[in-house]
């Protein structure tokens, strides 16, 4: 009985807190219009953040081109525009299996009981996926229409059926999708429609393996669910292509990454094995190297004023640092892995207070029914 009394008072406090929090969470979560504000004086039509992407991206070059603001081999500390705390890269603490992922400044907006995805970040992240990742990594569990679902990057309340969403239609049409030609029966590549799945870059795993020196680039549909560390792991990995510490041999075709879940022991030659560097080796070259060129807005002469044209920014004006891109694509992939996250949490913040209240009522009934019984 004493336990029950304690529990009752605890639940009551929790219930009041939860109801208050639920009230706060009732703020509209999904924007009515796509929130990416294009600076160009466009019409009221939904914004298309993909406009600047001219063609399916080529494999990222391992060397940083002239315009790249950040050399490929700079440690992530110096590239971090968001100013995450300096992470320990030194050997001593970093035995294999010890994973210290980076966290963006201010944490992840989608974490916690009431966290929702940062729509701007998702839209920018989709752009990074399309411009860079999609050349090697498929997302076969997603259809283009998913991008216009409630809670998705390009949701627009005016189009409850995402297949009608013009932004989604436009995005789909920019991918070429293999289909059976109804006239000849042969395979043809045609522009996608919202109902189509994201096309995979390779016809099968063997083709993917041959094209990538024996490594198959994993499908990214559920990658955030499939890695310990989740979005933080993706965020860290994309910033983890640092200069290999002296003494670490990197084989040709391999790339050292300080956050990869691997082991550096076999390549740590002539040094104390206790101080082997963290991380491991990836076949993937640093992908976010010269992204600034592809992601900045279209520069039509005189369209937006000359000055803005040379800045390396996303459509919404965010600077395209590697840190920013890694953050945004991690948010996009977190959404893609579990697109119903927001609906799930919203239902949860209603269900749990309801259960608390109901259990209090039932507890009071219990007290009443048992009031004359010694037990």
């Amino acid at each position: 009985m004493r336990f029950a009394k304690l529990a009752l008072s605890g639940f009551a406090v929790l219930a009041i807190g939860a109801i208050g929090a639920a009230a706060i969470a009732q703020q509209p979560v999904t924007p009515v219009t796509p929130p990416v504000e294009q600076p160009a004086p466009t019409t009221a039509a939904p914004v298309d953040p993909n406009a600047p992407v001219t063609a399916p991206a080529a494999t990222p070059a391992p060397e940083a081109p002239v315009a790249a603001p950040v050399p490929a081999v700079t440690p992530p500390q110096t590239t971090a525009a968001g100013g995450h705390g300096g992470e320990e890269h030194g050997g001593e603490h970093a035995a294999a299996g010890d994973h210290h992922e980076l966290t963006p400044a201010g944490g992840w907006k989608h974490d916690g009981f009431f966290g929702t995805f940062d729509v701007n970040a998702m839209q920018r992240g989709f752009k990074v996926y399309k411009a860079v990742c999609s050349s090697c990594h498929g997302m076969k569990l997603l259809s283009f229409r998913n991008l216009g679902d409630v809670g998705a990057p390009f949701y627009d309340a005016r189009y409850p059926n995402p297949n009608d969403n013009p932004v989604v239609k436009k995005i789909a049409s920019e991918f070429s999708v293999p289909k059976v030609d109804p006239d000849s029966g042969g395979m043809v590549s045609v522009p996608g429609i919202p109902a189509d799945r994201f096309p995979s870059p390779y016809p099968n795993a063997i083709a993917a393996s041959v094209a990538n020196g024996g490594a198959v680039p994993p499908d990214l549909s559920v990658i955030v669910k499939a890695r310990n560390g989740g979005a933080g792991y993706i965020y860290s990995l994309l910033q983890g292509f640092v200069t290999p510490p002296a003494g670490l041999n990197v084989n040709p075709g391999q790339h050292y990454n300080a956050y990869f879940h691997g082991d550096t022991a076999s390549q740590w030659v002539g040094k104390d094995p206790r101080s082997k560097p963290p991380g491991g080796f990836l076949a993937m070259a640093p992908p976010l190297v010269n992204l600034d060129i592809r992601l900045r807005r279209d520069c039509v002469e005189g369209a937006q004023g000359g000055a803005a044209c040379n800045q390396d920014t996303f459509d919404d004006g965010k600077t395209t640092t590697i840190e920013q891109q890694a953050h945004d694509v991690a948010v996009f992939l977190a959404w893609a892995s579990d697109p119903r996250t927001e609906a799930r949490k919203q239902l949860g913040v209603a269900v749990i207070p309801f259960l608390l209240l109901l259990s209090i009522l039932v507890f009071l009934s219990y007290r009443r029914i048992w009031r004359n019984v010694e037990h």
Partner: protein, 487 residues
Amino acid sequence: MSGPSTYEPKTGFTKWLDQRLPIVRFGADLMEFPTPKNLNYWYTFGGILAVCLVVQIVSGIVLAMHYVASTQDAFASVERIMRDVDYGWLIRNIHANGASMFFLAVYVHMFRGLYYGSYKAPREVIWILGVVIYLLMIGTAFMGYVLPWGQMSFHGSAVITNLIGAIPLVGPVIKTYLMGGPAIGDPTLNRFFSLHYLLPFVIAGIVALHIWALHVPGNNNPTGVSVKDVKKDTLPFHPYYTVKDGFAILVFFILFAFFVFFAPNALGHAENAIEANPLQTPAHIVPEWYLLPFYAILRAVTFDIGPIEAKLLGVIAMFGSVGILFVVPWLDTSKVRSMRYRPIAKQLFVLFVVACIGLGFCGANDPDKFVFKYGPDKLALIYTEGGTTEPKREIFDQYADAISAQGRLADSVKAKSAIEIHSDGFKWLWLSQILGAYYFLYFLVFLPMLGIIEKPKARPPSIAESVRKKHGSPAASAVNPAPQAAE
């Protein structure tokens, strides 16, 4: 214990029905069933488990409408449920986390039975039926975990089917029938799906027997003292225990809802979000949390005994750790049911619970890794000198010392020498051996011995007396609002 039925049909129809199919009487008698008035919250887990079974069956039937049992499509079909089926994410999260909740509740229920001696005469059959249900639950959960066809699904099922193959004589045949062929593939997935759908209904049937068997002697209670006087010691099940169980079920649902809505993947493995790939074995294959203690016992046996090899011995130990539960009623020789009045047994029971939880941690960790290290890592220079095959290990604190020692070796020896990290500590393997030994000692030595050597404390003469003592009421005439319970 249930007295004559007190149900009286009132309408013409119920009178007519009562003489042909007394189903209303059956329900009324269940609700009137005299139940000891001193049951605490540990006794609410039976009701919680019944609800868990219903939740799993209902959510599972809906999932089966959308799931595709084929190695090509299973993974994608589960993701389709999560993404495209209306509230599919909710149903799937309920079903996946519901399995964990089911096991959480069943463990509490079993520990409660062990503590209050609910397996003792005249309740042996209730206990044995319960162990059968538990075994079926393990089988159902294991086959259900294979269905999403993730990496852990596939390689976990490979480990388990190989274990069954280790049984002498019949093992290989059973293994082949289980897998539907020489390797895990479409036939395996199809029969696992079929059995995963079948077994819950078998469980439901045995649950009915479990409850039937319960209604013959009636509930045990925290004092272990049998009901002496139905009027003074018991209350009708409804409304007294329907409302108490109802409250407990709701509190349990809050925990359940937390996992479903806010941490749906917390009890699973990230590895299982990768589609099964037979050619790529995960670094650590581990079962779901609720089977980890048995997995730890399996891996704790690293030694041969006589002609029996370690692998088979591990399988025997693992199955034995569940099988031993069947004979617990006869291993425990004490006449006293409740451990409230058994001072030594109570302490050993607490250690037993700690050992079971500890075994869970052992199962989750690599047996060759360390629970704790004795000191900082050192370096080992490993080399093999000419003429011997046994490698030598020299231990150093400083890397420079190890290098200079390596330099002093003959050239041919040096070429094959290596400097590795040398850690020394307490291995998870050893902890699982200690705790696994305690698990068996508890049942095979302590329970039989204690009945002889332990001096139990005085028990209350009756349930009513124990309740009165607790409340300090002087009068013997406690108010009992249930005189109609049984006559």
